[in-house]
Symmetry: C2
Subunit: 379 residues, 2 copies
C-alpha cells in the first residue's frame, strides 16, 4: 500500500493548532498529507501546546475570523473541497460557524452525489465529563443531519443520542437513533471498553463495558432504510494517556475512507452509503478503520517505548538530584510539576518519526472488523 | 536515503500560514516533517491563501502574540530547539520579535557549541523591488550577527551587504562582507541568473548575470578567519512562477544541513563551521544544497506537468464558452480574473503528492556543487 493509491483529495480541516506537539490540526494535517491528501487548515485556536501540560499560552479564534478565512477561500475559488473534517471548537459560536461552512459545502454538492463528505468529531467531553461549554451540545446535535460520518466517544454518543450506553444493546440503540432520527449515515463510536470477544458474534448483550483492558470501536453505516449495520474492532489499551489520538483517528479515517469508498465503487453515491447487501464488517468504513487502527497501534507502541525509556532516565536523574540536594517539600512540588511537563512531552505521539507506519499500516491481521449480532437494541 | 538517517531534530519555524496552498510554514512544516524533523510552528500571518492570487483574507499576527506563544513554550519547557528557521514577517516589529527569540536561543546555547543553529531567510523583496516595509531592512541587518545561515536572493543580498551585484567578483565581495562585517558564518544566495558553466572554474569575472535561462545558487561557509569558500550549483529555470519555493528551499536546507553537518562531524562545533582545509564544493552546506535542489527539481517538474495539462484543458473550456456566449469586454475581464486564480492554483507546488522526492532526492548527478574561483572580489 503506497500513498499513490489514495485518490487525490482536497480536505478542509477545522480544528485547533498548537505550536509544539501533535494534537488537533497539527496532528491531522500531517497525517492526511502523509497519505497524499491536500489539506486546507483553519485553526480554531492557536496555542503554544495542548492543555494537558496544564500550562499553555495563545488565543482562541473568533468565529468571525473563521468566517473571514472561508470567505477568502471562496473569493479565490479555492473552496472546491472533496471532504471536510472538523474537530475541537472553543465555543458554541465556533461550532455554529463550522456548521454553516459544512452545510454550505453540502448544499453546493447536492447535485453531485458523493462529491462532498463531512467527517464530524463532536468534541465535547470524555468519561462522563463535559469539557466544553454546555451550550455546545445542542449545536452539535443540530449538525448531525448534515454530517456524513460522526466520531463520538462513548460519552459523546450518549450526549448526542440521549441514550445511556451500558451494554451492546444500548450501544445499538444509540447508533440506531443517530441514524434514524438524526439522519447521520455513518457512525463510529471510539474508545469503548468491552471485554475481548473470542467469537465473531458476542451474544451477551448485557456484558459490562467498563472493566476490560481492551478497547473497542463500534461502527455502522446505515442501510437504505437507516437501519444500523454494526461492526466492531478490538484494540489493546496502552497504559499511557496520549493526547491527539482522536485527531489522529479522525484524520486517518478521512484518507482511508476515501480510499476504501473509491475501491468499493461507492464514492459517487450519496453519502458513500454501501448497498444493503454489504455486511457490517465488509463496509468501506470497517476496511478503513482496520487500516487506521493498525497504523495507530504501530505508532503508539513506538511512542510507548520512547516514553518508557525517557521515564527511566528521568527517574535516575531525579534520584541523583535528591541524593545531592536532599528533598525539601518545596523542591518536591517543583519537581512534580517538572515531571508532569516532561512526561507529558514524552507522551507526544511520535507520528513524524513513524510516517511509514501511516503510509504502510502493518498487516498483522490483528485489527479485523467483526460482525456484531445483538438481540434487541432496536427502537 | 531514508528519513531515518536524518537525526531527530526539533525545529522552531516562524513564518506565514495559509489555509489553502503551500507557502511559508504551510510549505516548510510539511517539508521538514516529511524528512523526520519535529516542527514547532509559529505563524506570522494567518491568511486564506497566498497574496499572489491577488485576493485573500485573514490577519497578521501581532508581535505580542508571537512573544506570548514563545513564552508559553518556555513555561512548559518546550523550548529545547536544535534549530530555528525564520521567514516572512509582516512588519519590522515582528522581525524584531523573531530576532529576540533567535538571540535568546543563541545565548542559551552558547555553552554548548553547535547545539543551536538559526537559518534566517531575510524576506524583503526580489528583482530590485522591496515588498515589505522599508524599516524592515535595518532590522534584518541587525540580526545577521546572530544567524548561522542566511538565504537571501540576489536583491536581498544587495540590500544586506550594500554591494551591488553584477558579476561574480561583486558577488564574492557581497558574501565576504556578510561573513566579515556581519559575522554570518554561512551564506547561500538563491536565484542568481548566471550563464551555464562548462568548467569548474568560470574565469570571466564580469559575466552578465541577468540573461541566462539557467539559475545559480552560490553559497559559502566562512573559514576560521571569515574568508569565503564559494561553491556554485546551476539549475534549469522552469517557465512558470511558483510561489513558496523559497520556503521549500529554506526548510529542506534545515533538514539536509543537519544531516550533512552530522555526517561531516561538525554538528558539535560552533556554527557548524568546517575546518579550513575543506574546499567550497565539499562543504556540508554544498552537500545539503545538492540534495535539496535535486528534490525541488523533481517536485517542480511534476508541478509543471500538471500545470500544463490544466492550462490546456482551461483553454479548451474557455474557447468552448466563447463560442457559445460571444466575447463581451466585461465577460473577458471576469474571465481574465478567473484564469489568473485558476492558473495560480494550478501552479501550487505539488509537494504533498511528491513526498517521496523529498525523502529520496533523485541522484542524477545533475546538481553538483562546483568550485568558484574568481580573480579579485576581495575587499
Amino acid at each position: 500500500m503506497t500513498e499513490d493509491e489514495i485518490p487525490e483529495t482536497h480536505v478542509l480541516a477545522i480544528a485547533s493548532h498548537v505550536t509544539s506537539g501533535y494534537v488537533g490540526n497539527t496532528m491531522a494535517t500531517f497525517c492526511m498529507q502523509t497519505l497524499g491528501c491536500q489539506v486546507s487548515a483553519i485553526h480554531t485556536v492557536n496555542y503554544s501546546n495542548h492543555v494537558g501540560y496544564r500550562r499553555f499560552k495563545g488565543r482562541k479564534t473568533a468565529p468571525e475570523e473563521i468566517a473571514d478565512l472561508y470567505a477568502g477561500l471562496k473569493e479565490a475559488h479555492l473552496d472546491g473541497f472533496d471532504m471536510m473534517v472538523s474537530g475541537y471548537c472553543p465555543s458554541a459560536a465556533v461550532v455554529e460557524q463550522v456548521g454553516k461552512i459544512g452545510r454550505e459545502l453540502r448544499t453546493r454538492a447536492s447535485t453531485k452525489p458523493g462529491s462532498f463528505f463531512w467527517v464530524l468529531d463532536p468534541v465535547m467531553g470524555d468519561n462522563g465529563r463535559i469539557y466544553v461549554a454546555e451550550d455546545t451540545v445542542p449545536v452539535y446535535k443540530s449538525l448531525l443531519k448534515d454530517a456524513d460520518l460522526i466520531l463520538p466517544n462513548q460519552f459523546e454518543a450518549e450526549l448526542l443520542s440521549e441514550v445511556k450506553i451500558h451494554d451492546l444493546a444500548t450501544m445499538k440503540q444509540a447508533i440506531t437513533k443517530l441514524h434514524k432520527e438524526h439522519r447521520t449515515p455513518h457512525v463510529l463510536i471510539t474508545s469503548i471498553r468491552l471485554p475481548p470477544t473470542s467469537s465473531n458474534t458476542p451474544t451477551a448483550a448485557d456484558e459490562d463495558l467498563s472493566t476490560s483492558a481492551k478497547l473497542s470501536i463500534i461502527g455502522s453505516t446505515a442501510t437504505s432504510d437507516m437501519q444500523p449495520r454494526l461492526f466492531r474492532i478490538t484494540v489493546p489499551v496502552l497504559p499511557i494517556f496520549f493526547s491527539g489520538t482522536g485527531d489522529m483517528f479522525a484524520s486517518l479515517m478521512v484518507s482511508r475512507l476515501r480510499q476504501a469508498a473509491t475501491k468499493a465503487g461507492v464514492s459517487h453515491t450519496a453519502h458513500w452509503q454501501s448497498p444493503d447487501d454489504i455486511a457490517g464488517s465488509d463496509l468501506p468504513l470497517a476496511k478503513a478503520a482496520e487500516k487506521v487502527l493498525a497504523s495507530m497501534h504501530a505508532v503508539l507502541v513506538d511512542t510507548e517505548k520512547h516514553y518508557n525509556e525517557y521515564m527511566g532516565s528521568f527517574e535516575r536523574r531525579r534520584k541523583s538530584v535528591q541524593l545531592n540536594e536532599g528533598t525539601g517539600a518545596e523542591a518536591s512540588e517543583e519537581q512534580e510539576t517538572l515531571k508532569h511537563l516532561q512526561l507529558t512531552r514524552a507522551a507526544e505521539v511520535r507520528v513524524v518519526r513513524n510516517a511509514r507506519a501511516l503510509r504502510e499500516p502493518p498487516d498483522t491481521g490483528e485489527f479485523k472488523a467483526m460482525e456484531v449480532a445483538i438481540e434487541g437494541g432496536d427502537e
